[in-house]
């Protein structure tokens, strides 16, 4: 885990942050696995993925599946190296912010 801390506003929105956190320890995840694990709608997740792809934080790939009898294809999502770095730095920033509150002196009444 990178030690540098940097708050990144572009991934701080809850769904974006949770998606990056979900993808950080894996190589890739399928779209359906992400929707069920994160408990978000397909439309919400699609929009979030599209935005993060535009930022260069995510990449997607589509491949055919023998499980499906229609022509739709499975979508696989993964963090790019830029996305991993941004998430690690943002996570470190969150941890520092949370820790700083725990050691802050109690204000006088």
């Amino acid at each position: 885990m990178a030690s540098k801390a940097r708050f990144d506003e572009s991934i701080h929105a809850p769904t974006r942050l949770r998606l990056c956190a979900m993808l950080r320890p894996v190589d890739s995840a399928e779209f359906s696995a992400l929707t069920s694990t994160l408990g978000v709608s397909e439309a919400n997740l699609s929009k979030t993925i599209r935005n993060l792809v535009e930022l260069g934080y995510l990449s997607t790939s589509k491949h055919s599946s023998p499980d499906r009898n229609d022509l739709r294809r499975r979508t696989t999502v993964s963090l790019t190296s830029q996305g991993r770095t941004a998430f690690d730095w943002h996570l470190a920033a969150l941890q520092e912010i949370a820790a700083s509150a725990q050691i802050a002196p109690v204000p006088e009444a």
Partner: protein, 159 residues
């Protein structure tokens, strides 16, 4: 891009938000760890393939030995595909040092057993090959379950 590292870090609202975000991520990691657990059939099959790998040098004939290695390798690829289809995840990243330790430990035992099988074959003690194959199987079956537990724990601690 806003760099709030330069802003007020001890702001209580920001701290509460940060803690809430970290808590939400911890819950998600727990879910991910549960999803990443291999299906019940995975490790018994992997253990059988491992036993096959370990026993392969006992064949003696170089051509059939490599054909056997190739067959076992193909099964490993199919097994990995089945895992991905079942879980929706590709998890080749190892989340921490304990997971690495378990993986390296299993790898060392399996490679040692393959080497021992080769030695047993060369010295004419093929009847012991069943024992090395059994060690390979037992290394991968309980070992794989142990890896899943350590992997899940380290996945959740990684935040």
């Amino acid at each position: 891009m806003l760099n709030r590292m330069e802003s007020n870090w001890s702001d209580s609202a920001t701290s509460a938000t940060a803690r809430a975000s970290l808590d939400a991520l911890a819950v998600d990691r727990h879910r991910l760890a549960r999803r990443a657990v291999a299906p019940g059939w995975y490790y018994p099959i992997l253990a059988l393939v491992t036993a096959w790998f370990v026993a392969a040098p006992g064949i003696g004939n170089v051509f059939w030995m490599f054909a056997s290695f190739s067959g076992a390798s193909l099964l490993l690829v199919l097994l990995e595909r089945a895992y991905k289809r079942e879980t929706g995840l590709s998890t080749n990243r190892v989340p921490g040092p304990r997971s690495w330790l378990v993986l390296i430990g299993m790898g060392v035992v399996v490679l040692t057993m393959i080497f021992v099988t080769g030695l047993l074959t060369l010295t004419g003690h093929q009847s012991w090959i069943a024992a090395t194959a059994a060690v390979g199987f037992l290394t991968m079956y309980p070992g794989g379950l142990l890896y899943d537990r350590v992997y899940g724990a380290e996945l959740q601690r990684g935040l």
